[in-house]
Symmetry: C2
Subunit: 317 residues, 2 copies
């Protein structure tokens, strides 16, 4: 039988746990609630119990289980498997997730940040699996980045590499959560798109974006733009420009074959993709023409579990 | 005896050729003229003859000569050792430098672009030789970049990676030679600094920068700033901001230990370094504090030969 991995996609409201085989098929999947208010001991125990139970359920020889891969948002220490800080669990500080899960399950456990897990998922199971030169960008509450360069995950001297969301695209732009100004995250993350939309209210009080309230969702902004709404178009123009400038920079730096977009905002699909593709050319030297493709992840809602599982497949590759 | 390499630093007015040993010592050095107007055959023959003559002169066993490393500006095809295009030799197109030098010298020859050769020189023989996470930036007629990530030279899917000079730092800034706007090269290369200085003439006709003419050199701009000249200070503030924003981006992306500056503009030394160091903090997340150092290359005028030789030492490492 093919070797299998348990992938854990750690989220602030729910955690997805699944058994993934070497072909990237999810054999079994469980979703458990992870309430931010719960004690960390409770959360970790529930995760460990679910891991053990799904592994029992698939009923395989223990030797075929390569290990557990956990994709976590926030700042991690991958060497020691510690979540240093997570936006999803504000009361977690230096949480030794690897050690605790290993103790409870007896399985070798590996931790990686969620954006790196995302690109590892693409490298292992995505549309262009096996490509040695890929960049992943997760567009969600924040903007995360992961880079495969020459077949290796880029991690940097201290493991902090790949912070693609904090490339500065508007030097005099909005203050970013990181303290800097005009990072791509401060313009193109889901909350930033919402904020830009809200700022349009004075000028465009009758915009379709505000049909169900003063604070439109990303989805509502894209919908309004599709319907020809001028305010929504202006918001998205700025978002596309920010993303394209950032992606142009990544292309000059990495000369990747694929730039893969994932995360909640990427569900906007074709309009987003077309907006970026058109704009990226303006920010890219002509010698790069034809060398790259900007695409949407095809792993959809299973990207998290598959990415988490890929952490382990990558380790053993 | 230690193995040796012949390093060739190909320049538009002169080419430096030297024998470098494994410790990075230059055993013998020759400088030959390379006139842009000369036929390519003449230039290549002169280089090959000089290589053969210096190797003969050091009088070593042929087996100790690892090969020839050539650092070339412009666009190269490293696999085939072809200079696709060089700003220094406008009439070179797809010049098969590797094949020609190998035929004439009988020595294995490797070609790399000069910015990559620069960071390989730092990796092999610089102040922090052996460091696996380093970025090199050459500040000259253009701005070049080279990246060592996890001990490997970053080259990308088609060998175009590491184009650090074309990071956009002023989205509405000056047109760059590459066709884009506000690349760091369009503000902080030597010709760009000269252009920014010249633009100050109307507002500051009595600036010290213009004491010897309307078109000050980079050196004159730095000198004037040291003497408290306001116009020069304004020019350099913009240059420091551009470089710092770019370097801040590289730090987020690569999490390097060292950012090494080289090239003609870096001869400005401490003022440049201090200007950048102060400004980079504004553009960098606090979690990166203390993880990086911005330094000047200590290889000085031999950086070219040593970098070129390092191409070969890296190949055999």
């Amino acid at each position: 039988m093919s070797r299998i991995v348990c992938g854990v996609d750690l989220g602030g409201t729910q955690t997805k746990i699944g058994i993934v085989d070497e072909q990237g098929e999810i054999i079994l999947k469980r979703i458990i609630e992870t309430r931010v208010g719960d004690r960390s001991e409770t959360i970790v125990s529930r995760i460990a119990e679910t891991i053990s139970s799904v592994i029992k359920e698939v009923n395989v020889d223990r030797d075929t289980v390569l290990g557990v891969g956990i994709g976590s948002p926030g700042s991690i220490d991958r060497e020691n498997g510690v979540v240093l800080f997570s936006p999803n669990f504000p009361n977690w500080r230096n949480m030794e997730l690897k050690r605790r899960i290993e103790e409870k399950t007896g399985l070798k456990t590996f931790l990686e940040n969620d954006a790196n897990a995302f690109i590892l998922g693409e490298w292992a199971f995505g549309e262009h699996a096996g490509c040695d030169h890929m960049i992943g960008i997760t567009l969600g509450t924040g903007i995360g980045g992961g880079v495969i360069a020459a077949g290796k995950l880029l991690i940097g001297a201290d493991g902090f590499g790949g912070e693609l969301g904090h490339i500065i695209v508007e030097p005099d732009g909005p203050t970013c959560g990181c303290g800097s100004h005009g990072c791509v995250e401060s313009i193109a993350s889901a909350p930033s798109i919402g904020r830009l939309a809200k700022e349009m209210r004075k000028r465009f009080p009758n915009s379709k974006m505000f049909e169900s309230g003063p604070q439109p969702s990303t989805k509502q902004v894209f919908q309004a733009a599709t319907q020809g709404d001028e305010a929504a178009r202006l918001v998205l123009e700025r978002v596309y420009r920010a993303l394209s400038l950032a992606i142009g920079n990544y292309i000059h730096i990495f000369n990747p074959r694929y730039v893969v977009l994932g995360g909640g905002v990427s569900r906007a699909g074709e309009p987003l993709l077309n907006g970026i593709r058109k704009c990226v050319e303006r920010f890219t030297m002509s010698s790069f023409k034809g060398t790259y493709e900007i695409i949407l992840s095809q792993l959809f809602e299973d990207a998290g579990i598959k990415g988490a599982a890929s952490i382990v497949f990558y380790k053993f590759s």
